[in-house]
């Protein structure tokens, strides 16, 4: 078995480090997005329609309207 040249070693190591780094970056975003999705679903299940009712009451009492409805 031929031994590896310095260049081959450095290439292999760089490739692995890049792969790990790419996947690590993906992992951070994947975990965060799963969490956001999960927490939104929980909020929706806890709050239900109460937020909409609350907004309507607030709007009626104070005349204050929110400029943006949350997407969920």
């Amino acid at each position: 078995m031929a031994s590896l040249s310095d260049e081959e070693i450095l290439d292999a190591v760089a490739r692995q480090m890049q792969t790990d780094q790419d996947y690590r970056r993906q992992l951070e975003v994947a975990v965060q997005s799963k969490n956001d999705s999960w927490i939104k679903r929980l909020i929706r299940s806890v709050v239900g329609d109460l937020v909409e009712i609350g907004r309507a009451v607030m709007a009626a009492v104070t005349g204050w309207f929110m400029p943006r409805q949350p997407s969920w």
């Binding site: 292999a12 975990v31 956001d36």
Partner: protein, 392 residues
């Protein structure tokens, strides 16, 4: 201006002062939360650019949280705690002796018993062990396949039940094996006895792994030393052999069930394709079917702006070569697991792994134990090689 909110045992803080009236003013969000016994911290600093990947979606969530009443916050916190306090459940199966327990121990810091010469598990046993963060991992320690045809048949119904209860299913195959017959037959038999919905759910949650990739030799592995620690990388020829093996098992075990599969991945940007196979959610996309490499290439060419998404979906269907000994490819395996976790399991997963930290570091002292060849020269009547003697 900086707002700090700390809520113990809760993965999100409630941010005061930033309500839905001012979502655009959340210029900067840094979510450095930790779960478990450590308090969650969410820090918002105005007047800076967003650092969190994913653009505006986190401010949306923060705005939503800030809008909750105290009672709703309490109820939400209780729901989060209840869900995230359950153990994460993993079923791991495969031939006996493929290194299932070693892999879980390496990934989650658990202490499952390893190294038994004889297979001893006759019924699926839930083994609950604390992970490295103290949160619990429940592993369905499945009887190994391949002990005998009779036992394999008897185990199938058990497998089906336990796999459907699990958050994650890992199917381990020995990297140094060439036989797919036993695994393919077991998979076939298990799916044949399930309903269509069960089959789809089961196949979609499975991740196939090639264990003990470190045995793919003689092409060498390289240890990149940095002080008293280091990490392993396969040489180019070892990497090629590993990739070839993984591709072969993908063809034999994953591709045939393409119609039953779905691939999921996160979205950090806008994604829109007029194709019924893609279902787009708030932060994720699901592709129904098998995303082959040629399919990936086709979509990437048609929609180059979404190339990264197609590649991640394609990754969902890969067989992942790993080595517990070398801590090789554990990050890739972890993201495959996260992609397949249902939403309700992510809190448990994160408590177990303490975020997205996956280490690939192998201490020099551990690496030195891996060389097991000692050369005794008969003619010289002396030991001429021993890794332990080499001064590193």
């Amino acid at each position: 201006m900086r707002y700090d909110a700390t809520v113990a045992n809760f993965p999100y803080g409630f941010v005061r002062g930033i309500g839905p009236r001012h979502p655009a003013s959340c210029g900067y969000l840094r979510n450095s939360w930790r779960t478990g016994t450590t308090a969650a911290v969410l820090t918002v600093n105005l007047n800076e650019r967003p650092e969190t990947t994913g653009g505006d979606r986190v401010p949306d969530t923060v705005a939503a949280l800030a809008d909750l009443s105290a009672d709703q916050q309490r109820r939400l916190q209780a729901r989060v705690l209840a869900e995230s306090s359950k153990p994460l459940t993993i079923a791991i199966m495969g031939q006996t002796g493929v290194g299932k327990s070693s892999l879980l121990n390496t990934m989650f810091g658990s202490r499952l018993r390893v190294g038994d010469v004889r297979p001893t598990t006759k019924v699926p046993e839930p083994v609950t062990v604390p992970g490295s963060t103290g949160h619990h991992l429940t592993v369905w320690d499945m009887p190994g396949l391949g002990e005998s045809a009779r036992s394999d048949h008897a185990y199938l119904a058990m497998y089906r039940d336990k796999l459907s209860e699990s958050d994650v299913v890992l199917w381990a195959i020995h990297a140094d094996s060439r036989s797919t017959l036993s695994d393919a037959s077991a998979l076939d038999a298990m799916l044949a006895g399930s309903s269509a919905a069960q089959r789809r759910a089961l196949v979609s949650k499975m991740t196939f792994i090639l264990t003990k990739a470190d045995l793919i030799t003689p092409p060498p592995w390289i240890y990149l030393r940095d002080g008293q620690s280091g990490s392993f990388a396969p040489s180019a020829s070892a990497g090629e052999r590993i990739t070839e093996k993984a591709r072969y098992y993908q063809e034999m075990l994953i591709q045939p069930y393409g119609g039953l599969q779905a691939a999921d991945t996160y979205l950090s940007d806008e994604f829109s394709i007029d194709d019924p196979r893609f279902q787009v959610g708030d932060y994720h996309v699901r592709y129904t079917g098998f995303m082959s490499e040629s399919q990936c290439a086709y979509f990437s060419s048609a929609y180059p702006q979404y190339r990264a998404v197609f590649e991640r979906l394609c990754d969902n269907h890969r067989v992942i070569p790993v080595s517990a000994l070398f801590r090789y490819n554990l990050v890739q395996l972890t993201i495959a697991i996260v992609n397949k976790l249902g939403e309700s399991a992510i809190g448990r997963f994160q408590r177990l792994t303490n975020g997205s930290e996956v280490t690939t570091a192998v201490p020099v002292s551990a690496m030195r134990q891996l060389g097991n060849i000692v050369i005794w020269d008969k003619q010289k009547a002396a030991k001429t090689f021993d890794l332990d003697d080499i001064d590193l």
